[in-house]
């Protein structure tokens, strides 16, 4: 399965934030859209980092003033990006091995989406369910 299959049903807008914005803005956006990570983009909409709820929690454990920090302070900079033609299982493998949960998807240099490990699990679950359903139907069918 390709990553584009997941992106196709997510609309085509990516929720992003600028590096100079505050963590309180980020938290508000995460809550409003019910998502777990934001892609941090520069003024040309190029991804320069990713800010996950995990980054914010980790900081808040030692810093009660976390809301006043900037996105650039807490974001993860070494972002691994994917492409729409990547295989979902290799993304899942990379995310599992490297312990992160969101991957921005870039097509010819343009940010076009973000895929979470949850998105991949859901798509793969649906694929397996579909295969089981199809196989069952064929097994139950008469041979005549």
């Amino acid at each position: 399965m390709k990553v584009r299959r997941i992106l196709a049903t997510k609309g085509m807008r990516v929720i992003t934030i600028g590096p100079e914005q505050q963590i309180r803005d980020a938290v508000a956006i995460l809550a409003r859209h019910n998502i777990g990570a934001l892609v941090v983009v520069d003024t040309t909409n190029h991804p320069i980092g990713i800010l996950s709820e995990r980054d914010i929690i980790r900081e808040s454990a030692s810093n009660e003033q976390v809301f006043d920090r900037t996105v650039a302070d807490l974001m993860t900079r070494d972002v691994i990006t994917g492409m729409p033609n990547d295989d979902t299982h290799s993304l899942a493998h990379t995310m599992t091995e490297r312990r992160f949960r969101h991957m921005p998807i870039v097509d010819e240099g343009v940010l076009i989406g973000i895929v979470s490990i949850g998105d991949i699990l859901k798509a793969e679950r649906d694929q397996y369910r579909g295969e089981i359903d199809t196989l069952e139907t064929q097994i139950m069918a008469n041979d005549d």
Binding site: T9, K10, M12, M83, D86, D87, S90, T94, G130, Q138
Partner: protein, 467 residues
Amino acid sequence: MSEIGTKSNPLRVAVIGAGPTGFYTAEHLFKQKEYVVEVDMFDRLPTPYGLVRYGVAPDHQKIKSVTAVYDRIAQNPGFRFFGNVQIGKDITASDLCQYYHQIVYTTGAQTDRQMNIPGEDLAGSLPATEFVAWYNGHPDFRDYDVDLSHENVAVVGVGNVAMDVARILCRTPEELATTDIADYALEKLRHSQVKNVYILGRRGPAQAAFTTPEIKELGEMADTDAYVEPDEAELDALSEAALAVSSDRATMKKVEVIQSYAGRPSSGKTRRLILRFLVSPVELFGDDTGQVVAMRMVKNKLYKTDSGTLRPKATDSFEEIPVGLVFRAIGYRGVPIPGVPFYDSWGVILNREGRVIDPETQAPITGQYTGGWIKRGPSGVIGTNKPDALETVQNMLADVAAGEILQPQHPTRAAAADFIAAKQPDYFSYDDWLKLDAIEVARGKAQGRPRVKFTSVPEMLTAVGKK
């Protein structure tokens, strides 16, 4: 206004496209207990089942047994079928808003992706989808002209359509004579001069999209030998490493079967099916008449992307093979529906989990939904459309609860039926279809075949007494 979804005021849904996803959408709508639902299903052809009838290969009859499930769904008293009615031609999308609370587009991926290489438009270079529609008796393609006098054929792609096309080209008339292949196609294939069929994959054996049963089947045909170039059957270091880490048994098995074809000597069968890996067509060459005669391919090697996917990269090594026919099967895309937002680069309706969205505001468009391949792109097997349809239906029901539905002027079965009959008097009901089905099956029985298909709309209309 009284509440929607009650016995006196049912939720009225139009489903556009009578393929698997259309039926699964109806099924999920009927299964829930909260609302009384009426589903009117439309198709531009008189016959239901979409690609199960016109896509699934005739030598895969067992896959078609899923239609029994669809027939059961169609027996629900809330279900009606309006075949031979085309949205955008007989009826517009905005007409539907006058008769239904919700509209679901499940029109599939009807067209193919181009290779974008020089020579692609030469005679003999064709989309695999058209060949598939032709041998399956799709009324739009019965006059399709495919020249099977060539000895060498290339099928570009390693998905299930590529496999189907290659198999149908390699089967003997005897193997096909017991299927529901279109009569005219069987006749033409009887005189086929095809000797060598190349299947071209741009990645290696471990990345090929086909399944193990599909690849095994290629080696079990009556008069065709399957063959793989020995060096192309070997896994490269990257694939080897990826497989060692994932220890994916399905992929291992698939690679094993492919390797069993490597370097196999001919067993004297008439035809040869040659699986090629790590090659991409770069140009087609024609003769003076504009007929394709050869294909230039570049050899690829795999590299690993940041995210861990193995992708093909062209090397500077090229190869030319003589071919008189080229079928491209490298991907499919949906056809836009007038008045429905479309995401052109991927060939899908613009949507969020099945809700059609406005390209400007990204907000859902009230009452408009989508499911199946026109929603997510072509992927998965028939059954994959069931969870796909469920996701859409769950969002439809949430919108009913929130009151976010269309406000049709005439939300009754009778008004819709009158309107449709006025626009397309020759519409096909499900009973009409069952009548046609019985005739096809009876015609088949006489010949020891599952059915003999009607392949033109006028013939279908006449057969059930509509003309």
